[in-house]
């Protein structure tokens, strides 16, 4: 008998909290499901980034996955560097000089690059962005946000309270 009580409790719980599992699964789907991406054929890109206190110009670069990127880093005023998050890539250029190096953008996503040579007071905040392919993380984040708002609306619904009364 005891078991049965426990059992029906469990079933009740699942009945009452099913939406929680649905949300959890939806959330996981949003985070992990691979989204179809139009794959453009990789090309060679020659990019020029000017570094000055405290800005990279252009600050945002968009490329496709697999592109071969040849980067010219030009230091406009003092010594600057460029170190790319997620990639093992770093460049340093002396004032007025250009330094060039190449890498293949094989990881997708948005990667920050930072100045790697102390160049002044705001040096720690000198940042640029490299976007390889679409920013799926941002899209997934937006979907999660919508899910969260939906979940908030749902969570306050008193599940099955009427049903119980009917059953009793």
């Amino acid at each position: 008998m005891k078991f049965q009580v426990a059992d029906s409790d469990l079933i009740n719980r699942i009945k009452n909290d099913w939406w929680f599992f649905v949300l959890l699964i939806l959330g996981l789907l949003i985070i992990f499901v691979p989204l179809p991406q139009a794959q453009a054929a990789p090309i060679d890109r020659h990019l020029r980034i000017e570094a000055s206190m405290y800005q990279f110009t252009p600050g945002v670069i968009k490329v496709n996955k697999g592109d071969k990127i040849t980067l010219d880093l030009v230091a406009m005023d003092v010594v600057h560097g460029l170190s790319l998050d997620g990639y093992d890539f770093e460049l340093t250029a002396d004032p007025g000089q250009t330094k060039t190096a190449a890498f293949i953008a094989e990881k997708t996503g948005v990667f920050r690059f930072r100045c790697s040579v102390a160049c002044g007071n705001l040096h720690p905040f000198m940042i640029g962005k490299l976007q390889v392919g679409p920013n799926l993380m941002f899209i997934r984040a937006m979907l999660l946000g919508i899910l969260a708002m939906g979940a908030a609306f749902w969570s306050l619904r008193k599940p099955f309270s009427n049903l119980k009364e009917v059953n009793n």
Binding site: V110, P124, M126, M137, G145, F153
Partner: protein
């Protein structure tokens, strides 16, 4: 309901009741405070090598948002060194009160009550943020002015008037302490009602009456009431997060203003320090120049115009679908609590984005705090550029999404209908999208 009274555990009870642990920790934080001022004045000029900058803006400011507030509410205030010297004068004793103290003990003027000055102070810090964050001298001067101001005010006004009405950090922690899982409350209301001396109220440095505490915003968790209550009627509870939010919470316009200023500040800080706009950074830095004036103007427009405007528009929408009784002003205040989880989680996400990358700066400055070539813990000169990983990106996303869920849920709880909640949830959604865009866009 679902509270755990920590004073029931003998060891914790002893630690909270005795003045020693708190006194020792505060002695250390006071020493650290003085040391930080000295390091700021005499240490290296390069911000990222200066103990004061790294300690205040990376270590302490992050610890406050990642640890003290989310797990302990105003717990920082219980070990804060800033009001210490003033309190020694007020209670004429370093360790515990001894009779009548020095000071005029005036009451804080009515007109200056509420959160307005704290919010203003926070705005000021934001306006000069790029300088304070990079100049050790400025940081040191600000720290010194704060402790000096707290000292002077405690000679003129009663109790912790500085903490209650002026300290910008206090405004920040008080606001978000309402979402925190710690509270001081009375056990039996009846016992308090029958106790005419109200020893706890007389002893409370924050001017609170524990029986009347509805939210943890203004209680500094100093434990004085616990120590003096003759009937042992005070408890220190662990509680579910967000317990002060909901139907019964009372919010006033000052709270709403504070909440909106915090939202604006986290947006602007994210744009300045984590964005790719170099001109914005320089503008924020060159205090007094024309670009800075423009930056300051835009900052003020966002925090005093755009965000309050959008919030008011959402409230207007909610009032329209509400019942006839709801007035605009009341609704404006009522929904203020929605800004608490929204802002708290955004600040935490910002901190994850900001501080994790810069954490490698912390150990080197402990190793060589004055830049004199010391190597105390063998970590000098190990600072690296740092990088953010997709892990930290996902943590930020989850934090922001939790904040959105939480604030939408609070909105629901205090709304008459789903329809009424909609405009305010939309406001939270819009804010979250802006944060997402700034942090991981």
């Amino acid at each position: 309901m679902n509270r755990i009274d920590l004073t029931r555990f003998p060891t914790i009870n002893l630690l909270l009741r005795s003045r020693w642990p708190q006194f020792l920790i505060r002695a250390i934080t006071l020493a650290g405070f003085v040391f930080t001022i000295l390091a700021g004045l005499f240490g290296p000029v390069v911000g990222s090598h200066n103990f004061a900058i790294i300690f205040v803006w990376i270590a302490w400011w992050s610890a406050l948002k990642l640890f003290f507030i989310p797990f302990g509410g105003r717990s920082w205030c219980s070990i804060c060194p800033i009001p210490m010297p003033g309190e020694w004068m007020q209670q004429r004793g370093v360790f515990s009160p001894t009779g009548k103290g020095f000071g005029l003990g005036k009451r804080w003027p009515k007109k200056l009550r509420g959160n307005w000055l704290q919010a203003g102070g926070f705005l000021l810090i934001g306006l000069f943020g790029a300088v304070t964050l990079t100049s050790a001298k400025v940081t040191a001067i600000i720290l010194f002015s704060i402790i000096a101001l707290a000292f002077i005010l405690s000679l003129i006004f009663e109790r912790r008037s500085f903490c209650n009405y002026l300290c910008p950090i206090g405004g920040f922690t008080g606001l978000y302490a309402q979402a925190s899982p710690v509270e001081v409350r009375v056990k039996e209301k009846q016992i308090c009602a029958e106790h005419s001396e109200k020893t706890c109220y007389t002893a409370c440095p924050w001017g609170q009456y524990p029986l009347a505490l509805k939210s943890s915003a203004d209680c500094g968790l100093c434990m004085e009431c616990l120590r003096v209550c003759p009937s042992d009627n005070i408890m220190v509870n662990l509680r579910p997060w967000g317990s002060d939010l909901g139907q019964k919470a009372k919010h006033n316009l000052g709270d709403v203003f504070l909440g909106l200023v915090m939202l604006a500040s986290v947006l602007v800080d994210s744009a300045v320090f984590l964005g790719t706009w170099g001109q914005l950074k320089s503008a924020a830095y060159e205090v007094g120049s024309l670009p800075w004036l423009i930056f300051a103007g835009v900052f003020l427009i966002i925090s005093l115009g755009v965000l309050p405007g959008l919030y008011s528009a959402a409230i207007w929408g909610a009032v329209r679908v509400g019942s006839a009784k709801t007035t605009f002003r009341k609704t404006l205040s009522k929904y203020g609590q929605v800004l608490v989880p929204l802002g708290l989680m955004s600040w935490i996400a910002f901190t994850v984005s900001f501080a994790f990358v810069k954490f490698s700066y912390v150990l080197p400055v402990i190793s060589d705090p004055f830049g004199w070539g010391w190597n105390l813990i063998g970590m000098s000169g190990t600072a690296s550029i740092g990088q953010s990983t997709s892990w930290s990106g996902w943590i930020q996303i989850l934090l922001l999404v939790i904040g959105l869920f939480w604030s939408s849920k609070v909105t629901q709880q205090i709304s008459e209908s789903k329809k009424q909640a909609l405009p305010i949830v939309a406001f939270s959604g819009l804010f979250t999208v802006s944060m997402l865009w700034l942090l991981i866009g």
